[in-house]
Amino acid sequence: MDPTKSSTPPPPPVMGAPVAYPPAAYPPAAAAGAPAYAPQLYVPPAAAAAQQAAAAQQQLQMFWAEQYREIEATTDFKNHNLPLARIKKIMKADEDVRMIAAEAPVVFARACEMFILELTHRGWAHAEENKRRTLQKSDIAAAIARTEVFDFLVDIVPRDDAKDADAAAAAAAAAAAGIPRPAPGVPATDPLAYYYVPQQ
């Protein structure tokens, strides 16, 4: 199966939305969306997961390329999608912070936008794996658990959420493929985790 995405041009940006939706992320390619354990079309779990991981990596690279392109095209530095005053307040909550240059909250406004986009994008990959169309807290928890740079966020999402998210996925996959599940009480390990390329 071909893990590479179709070459259709990006859809026109939704009105008001500065970010063009990456074409490859939706609809999911056959490899990601098709039931990998259907009897007629059996794809070994390792291969399916590896394809999914490679596709996810490619989507992320496209995401960052798109972000850079948009920043290049930015001309309006007065209007932001996040309130600068509130950002400044959050910065000042740190007692060690004394003076803040005007440009610092401006940088954060754009960086926080990128952060929200990235974390949402990664969380959505998890929702799609679980065949859901609603992004849940557990999806964000899974994205945090899978991404090393988001380790500072582990306290925000209780460990259970991330564990439950991956355990549910593991249980579903294991049941479908007949792989023995971990005994109750044993920390759940996603059997597919061994096949995943670590998300960067």
Binding site: P83, K89, A104, C112
Partner: protein, 158 residues
């Protein structure tokens, strides 16, 4: 000044202050999702918390650097440096670019304002892409003191 509300109401206000508005956060999340995707309220609230933590995390690192270098003001370069120091490598180049463009635009605006007031604007050295110290010096008048109460001043942002 009116008395601070006591108990839960007072904590609610502090809660809002330390989070970015859920409407803004939700709108940005929607941008990256397919048109028919939904976002649970809990997911948006979690994202609010994550963003605030992101700001605090990066600000702390940037602030530490300023302390080490005996500087009082956290500027855009410090924030960009902190992204790299904390492992947000993908953020560094785009945000440095963004900061550079912002300084160009603001430099032109400030220079225009200064020359209209009759003062000699520092237009040339800023436009030539001078080093961070020059740019920082230029924007010092826009720096926000901890004691600042958001009073409008020319050159300061609201």
């Amino acid at each position: 000044m009116a008395d601070q509300p006591a108990g839960a109401a007072g904590e609610e206000i502090k809660e809002q202050d330390r989070l970015l508005p859920i409407a803004n956060v939700g709108r940005i999340m929607k941008q990256i999702l397919p048109p028919n995707a939904k976002i649970s309220k809990e997911a948006k609230e979690t994202m609010q918390e994550c963003v605030s933590e992101f700001i605090s995390f990066v600000t702390g690192e940037a602030s530490d650097k300023c302390h080490k270098e005996k500087r009082k003001t956290v500027n855009g370069d410090d924030v960009c440096w902190a992204f790299g120091a904390l492992g947000f490598d993908d953020y560094v180049d785009p945000m440095r670019r963004y900061l550079h463009k912002y300084r160009e635009v603001e430099g032109d605006r400030a220079a225009a304002a200064a020359s209209s007031r009759g003062a000699a604007g520092p237009h040339d050295h800023l436009a030539s892409g001078a080093g961070p110290s020059a740019a920082t010096g230029h924007f010092m008048f826009g720096a926000i003191d901890r004691t600042d109460n958001n009073t409008s001043r020319p050159g300061n942002f609201n």
